[in-house]
């Protein structure tokens, strides 16, 4: 094979314009973590099954392990760091704290990123709706009860903030 070329990629991450230089085989997840230092995005299975690496691509949840960083030219990416932080947590982050939805915390960023998009489309979900929404996010602590509770609580918090 001839010499591998690095690619410059310009994208917006959590509202900030970034230009990074990546090898073609670098996943978006690796680029976010290793190049941009955004280690909130976790890498679990690297084949799209576990959901830990879920980020928003142009507002929609996608697996950042199944997207090469080089493909993200011009994309608008939101990671868990862009959802909220300790100073101004997202209602989901507050609810996961309140309802003990974190457990070991490994799956949590993917859960919250996935649920952040889901609650925008389904502001008053049932428990079954939430289970369907996170069916692609695996928790190895088997802690789904509290995760579902957290999501329902977040929906309440969001609804309460509106009125």
């Amino acid at each position: 094979m001839s010499e591998l070329k690095q690619h410059d990629v310009s994208l917006t991450v959590n509202g900030k314009a970034e230009t990074i230089s990546v090898a073609p085989r670098a996943s978006l997840a690796d680029a976010l973590r290793d190049t941009l230092g955004l280690t909130g995005t976790h890498i679990g299975c690297e084949h799209g099954v576990c959901g830990a690496c879920t980020v928003l691509l142009d507002g929609k949840p996608v697996r950042s392990c199944l997207l090469f960083a080089v493909q993200a030219e011009g994309a608008v990416i939101t990671t868990i760091e862009g959802i909220g932080d300790a100073q101004s947590p997202h209602p989901l982050q507050r609810a996961f704290n309140e309802c003990h939805g974190l457990h070991c915390g490994f799956c949590t960023p993917g859960m919250i990123v996935t649920l952040s998009a889901f609650l925008k489309e389904h502001p008053q979900p049932t428990s079954d709706d939430v289970r369907e929404a996170i069916s692609g996010n695996l928790c190895m602590c088997t802690g789904y009860q509290n995760i579902v509770r957290s999501a329902l609580r977040a929906a309440e918090l969001i609804e309460g903030a509106k009125s």
């Binding site: 001839s2 690619h7 090898a23 199944l66 997207l67 493909q71 030219e73 069916s135 692609g136």
Partner: protein, 294 residues
């Protein structure tokens, strides 16, 4: 795991993609949604030297209604199909089937054309395409050609597409007044590939099923296939519970099925009888939605 090193190039037009395919030949692979290809690359089951990205080609995604058919661009993502009123109204089978494909985050990225060209034997899309009598428009260095779904799926991840061709669009006849669709699938976990799936498209002459009966199954062997003996049993008859039972048994007996670490052949045949029965039940009585959601 990480994929083996490769070189990346983004095609900006269909012509561009075909020229790149012609240049790099079998060393190259097109990438659309990447939801099947990237896992295969990460497992090192696929090691293309060149990845030709078709995501930036404009006009390759979209849904249009034309001459009684739905024309769906190959780069149209599952979530766009799910959200499309035209798809839900004109091709109810897709509406029933789409929620079974993986999970939302995968459906936001995966494309209809990618799944068809990947031709995974356990994937849902090839099954639906066979039942719907879809036609695929392919373009290569020598021009455009059309191929029926029946002639396209050859074997495990093997299709009738040539190395220098790209799938442009999928044409699916819109549902007729007298037509009913059904789908049913069994997977171990929500969103997993099917251990057995079945799709049914039936047209009626009054109370009787007409000659237009298409049943397709997947998840059993190296490719999705039609259950023609079951189709023949149903043609021209009223869809009684006994007839549906008989057709389901015929399908289970006629289709190819194999054993692997996921299921034995006998178990798969038993599963497919149930899936065919349920798909037909959904088609005949659209209010019983066994195929829609588990």
């Amino acid at each position: 795991m990480k994929p083996a090193p490769f070189q990346y190039v983004a095609a900006l037009s269909v012509e561009d993609a075909i020229a790149l395919l012609s240049k790099y030949g079998s060393d190259a692979k097109l990438i659309a949604g990447g939801q099947s290809l990237v896992p295969m690359m990460n497992f090192r089951l696929a090691r293309p030297e060149w990845l030709i990205d078709i995501n930036r080609i404009s006009g390759l995604a979209g849904i249009a209604q034309k001459n009684g058919a739905l024309r769906i661009g190959s780069l149209t993502r599952y979530s766009e199909l799910e959200a499309s009123e035209a798809v839900q109204r004109s091709v109810p089978l897709l509406g029933l089937m789409l929620p079974h494909i993986a999970h939302k985050a995968i459906r936001n990225r995966g494309t209809i054309g990618g799944s068809i060209c990947h031709a995974d034997p356990a994937a849902e899309m090839p099954v639906a395409m066979l039942a719907l009598d879809a036609t695929f428009e392919l373009r290569g260095p020598t021009g455009t050609r059309r191929i029926a779904a029946d002639d396209f799926f050859i074997g495990q991840m093997t299709t009738g597409i040539e190395a220098e061709e790209i799938l442009i669009a999928i044409e699916i006849p819109e549902i007729k007044n007298s037509e009913k669709h059904g789908f049913s699938e069994f997977a171990r976990r929500r969103g997993d590939f099917a251990l057995a799936s079945a799709a049914a498209v039936l047209r009626f002459n009054g109370e009787r099923i007409s000659d237009h009966v298409r049943i397709a199954v997947g998840g059993l062997s190296e490719r999705a296939e039609r259950a023609r003996a079951a189709e023949a049993l149903l043609a021209g008859k009223a869809p009684t519970a006994a007839l549906i039972e008989e057709a389901a048994k015929a399908a289970a007996a006629e289709v190819k099925a194999g054993s692997d670490l996921h299921a034995t052949e006998a178990y798969r045949r038993s599963l497919i009888a149930t899936q065919v029965k349920q798909a037909l039940a959904v088609a005949v009585d659209h209010t019983s939605s066994t195929g829609a959601k588990k």
